[in-house]
Symmetry: C2
Subunit: 281 residues, 2 copies
């Protein structure tokens, strides 16, 4: 059992138990793969990948990162909209079942597992099943988008706080605390908000955030096809039209610092647009 | 010029210019060092460290991380309270001056440069001086604290958003949007909030957040001396007493998932306390 050549870590555990023919219980590590650029993996994440028997990943994790674990079996449970996806409960049970086979299971997630990664649900499922489960944090997309654009999430005098929300809603439109999000002096980052950008902008504006507030859209943050659009809250919906990759909406005064071309940056930036939509208000 | 043996990167730039005796202009990279564990550096941050001529760092960056760049000169501009610190304007000017000497300058910051790291101010100073400045994101402390404790920042049904604020105030008490922070169904993370924990808890409670809301304090997240205290909002002030290291206050229902001992974790956790303070309300 647990004897196929690629089950390196499981084999090691069995060996450590004194060579007895017992099956060592596997374990699950929820690993943040970061925003996409393989160089934005942490060293700890890289080590976890290299020690894994099986990678359970979604469509947001790039091929370059998967290739860092050539020894591991790969299971794609892609969660991108309009593609076939495995329901969360099935993913939870898959992780438990793989660990029970004695495998070192890495559940690889774009960004960070605990920030819109549904890692909490997977951790709970492992705990309930008595499976050892640890978490390796990752650089969440907002940090990479902010760094790449040169637009800080917090900034003296204009952003004393930052709030992360998701624009994705299971049914219809996101139910967020618009009054809180509309307050000044903070940056609001919306994950998965492209398809609801118009609704979000309308609600924020109705709740009092000025239509002239700078808004930065970053698609495919840190990837070779990264694309940035600097606009305003009033122009957000128009600017978000046609975006296909995963994108962040970032709203707040500090986003005005975003540069069309950050000094020193060369080929990694495919397209950058700056929209002045003050006339659109 | 720019000829001392440790100025490796600057020498390389001069060499690339064809060996002419011109001084290449240096540049500044703002690098997130992550929460403390050297394994939570990104690969990109490690590369930046290895290519640096000089590291400008503060007291939150650990010796193990500084040792990853043995070739670099080190300048400590420690910003911890009650120690001698360089004012931010002086740090800005230092970075510009070092870059003008033709050096590869790495400004190394705990966590992420753009989330309570004042990186925006340093970037602005470089831009104004015409110095090339790029940013490498890092794992911010909250992500590491959350991962280590097994308590997700967002969680289905209990935390649909997360807000990061700072408890530090230049004069007196932090001026935060208590009404917004007191709303349910979100996690509130307070950086640098130990000394104002009592004030913060009182204001959140007064604004309507239940005193029974779970609250997790994580001191020295990801370091060998990490310490976690699971309490409630009502018990926050008492629990924060006596903490000396950098610590996060994390308030929200999902924090109840924090484990005293995460499965698989051994020596990295020095002390863990769980306080049931419901009687203290």
């Amino acid at each position: 059992m647990a004897s196929s050549p690629d089950r390196t870590a499981a084999n090691r555990l069995v060996a450590l138990s004194g060579g007895e023919a017992v099956r060592a219980m596997g374990r699950v590590t929820l690993v943040g793969a970061g925003p996409g650029d393989p160089d934005l993996l942490t060293i700890k994440a890289l080590k976890a990948l290299q020690a894994s028997d099986v990678l359970v990943h979604d469509g947001l994790v790039s091929a370059e990162i998967l290739d860092l674990a050539p020894q591991a079996r790969r299971i794609d449970v892609a969660k991108r909209k309009s593609r076939h996806t495995l329901p969360q409960d099935d993913i939870n049970q898959l992780l438990v079942a793989l660990a029970r086979e004695g495998l070192e299971v890495v559940r690889l997630k774009g960004g960070d597992p605990f920030l819109f990664g549904r890692g909490g649900e997977e951790l709970s499922a492992c705990r309930e099943a008595g499976i050892d489960c640890t978490v390796v944090p990752g650089v969440t997309a907002a940090l990479a988008a902010s760094a790449g654009a040169g637009a800080p999430l917090t900034h003296r005098g204009s952003a004393q706080a930052v709030t992360f929300v998701t624009g994705h809603a299971a049914h219809g439109e996101p139910d967020l605390d618009w009054t809180a999000l509309a307050r000044p002096n903070q940056t609001v980052v919306v994950y998965m908000g492209v398809s609801t950008a118009g609704f979000i902008a309308q609600r924020l504006t109705a709740a009092g955030r000025a239509g002239s507030t700078p808004a930065l859209i970053v698609e495919n943050a840190s990837r070779t096809d990264e694309r940035r659009i600097l606009t305003t809250l009033a122009g957000l919906a128009t600017a978000a039209e046609g975006l296909k990759g995963p994108a962040l909406l970032m709203v707040g005064e500090a986003m005005a610092m975003a540069e069309i071309k950050v000094p020193g940056e060369t080929a990694t930036l495919a397209v950058v647009e700056v929209q002045n939509v003050s006339s659109g208000q």
